[in-house]
Amino acid sequence: MRSLLNLLRTASFLIGSALLLPALAQHEAHEQVTEGQLSTEDVFEEHDTQNLAHAKFNPGEMIMGHVGDEHGWHLFGHTSIPLPVIVYNTQRGFSVFSSANFDHGHKTHAGYLLHNGKIAATEAPDGTDAHHATVNEAMTKATWDISITKNVLGMFVNMAILLWVMLSVAKAYTKRGVGAPKGLQSFIEPIIVFIRDEVAKANIGPRYQRFMPFLLTVFFFILLSNLTGLIPIFPFGANVSGSISVTFTLAVITFVIILINGNKHYWGHILAMPGVPKPVLFILTPVEILGVFLRPAILMIRLFANITAGHIIVLSFFALIFIFGEINAGLGWGISVFTLLFTVFMSMLELLVAFIQAFVFTFLAAMYFGAAVEEAHQHKESLV
């Protein structure tokens, strides 16, 4: 069953990337065309770029726009919720303003503009057409973008839900004491007990309690982020766990906890594996040190890739409707039936993946903690 699932994932990811690659290539070609026109036909440039944007459906842009982060939360059509832009520049200081000032990337504001969705510094006055303004590279490098973006807001929404659920469950325990769980309790309690018994105790051993807060937090946060990422309606649908910044942060926290809790036995085995001949240590020690960094890095990539791949596949199927619809409207309608069925199938798979990935992250983190706090006598020497 598992191998079948893996096979399915791989196959669908390959299909997804196969669909995506031409789309990306098209995206680049599209940019080149617009740039060429910008330099040669000054009068018609805006007219032309707008026409191009409207006339041709760009799947790569659509998919990346949905998977990625943005300043402002796009709802439907031309409606979007502006979000606060918070920028710190080492020379200009803090600037805080609404992302509505950028007019979807068409205008400059307070010396900044949106260049491919990212904040860039410019010297142009407020309200200049962003397509004419030149980006000040040096200033952009000195700019720190700490805006409340779509993903950040999505994360706040998830945190609010988590706080509400967990606090109400905690209140139920203080009110009723430890007894038969009721309501939300009966959903949360088995999961917490499962994480404690099957993940923490099984991997970490007697000192599991110190790691429980982190393991539970990370499990529920990833699970909720995965699930809300599947709901395409505001205030859900931000691709939080499919953002590499989020998974990077989670991995860094895991890494720091391993570093802090690693005991003498753990570091001894990394720096000089006992019972190994000296010449072999010349290779083994660098490998072990690399392993310390690679483990959290793989945690980061696994979660990010799994969630993003699922989203890209679903979006690729949606893109098919419009690609075929451009050829013939009837063909688009026909394909939409196929797309709908496949999207339902993929969503089911993604529901499963949401749980699996949250579990895998927690489980592996617990395993690494277990290795870090392991005592000498529990270890069986196996190498050589």
Binding site: A202, L284, G291, S382
Partner: protein, 77 residues
């Protein structure tokens, strides 16, 4: 029939998925080790600027050896 809690069957199944999870990152780790060694060699070669990229070749081979060692160490547990 459901296996009893703590029974041999259940423990066997648990060990199965635990081992599975333990080894999921192994391939990536091995690739990562080889890449890190090769990149290190390439970087050192750039500093040395010799005619033949000796260190790239040597370290990439060492990386392969290292990744094999890592494999043995991880699966031997």
């Amino acid at each position: 029939m459901m296996p009893k809690r703590g029974s041999k069957e259940l423990r066997g199944a648990k060990g199965g998925y635990q081992n599975y999870l333990r080894y999921t990152g192994l391939g990536f780790s091995m690739v990562g080790i080889i890449l890190a060694f090769t990149f290190g060699g390439w970087w050192l070669d750039k500093l040395l600027a010799w005619k033949i990229p000796v260190l790239t070749i040597l370290l990439s081979l060492l990386g392969v050896a290292g990744s094999m060692m890592y494999l043995f160490k991880e699966t031997g547990r």
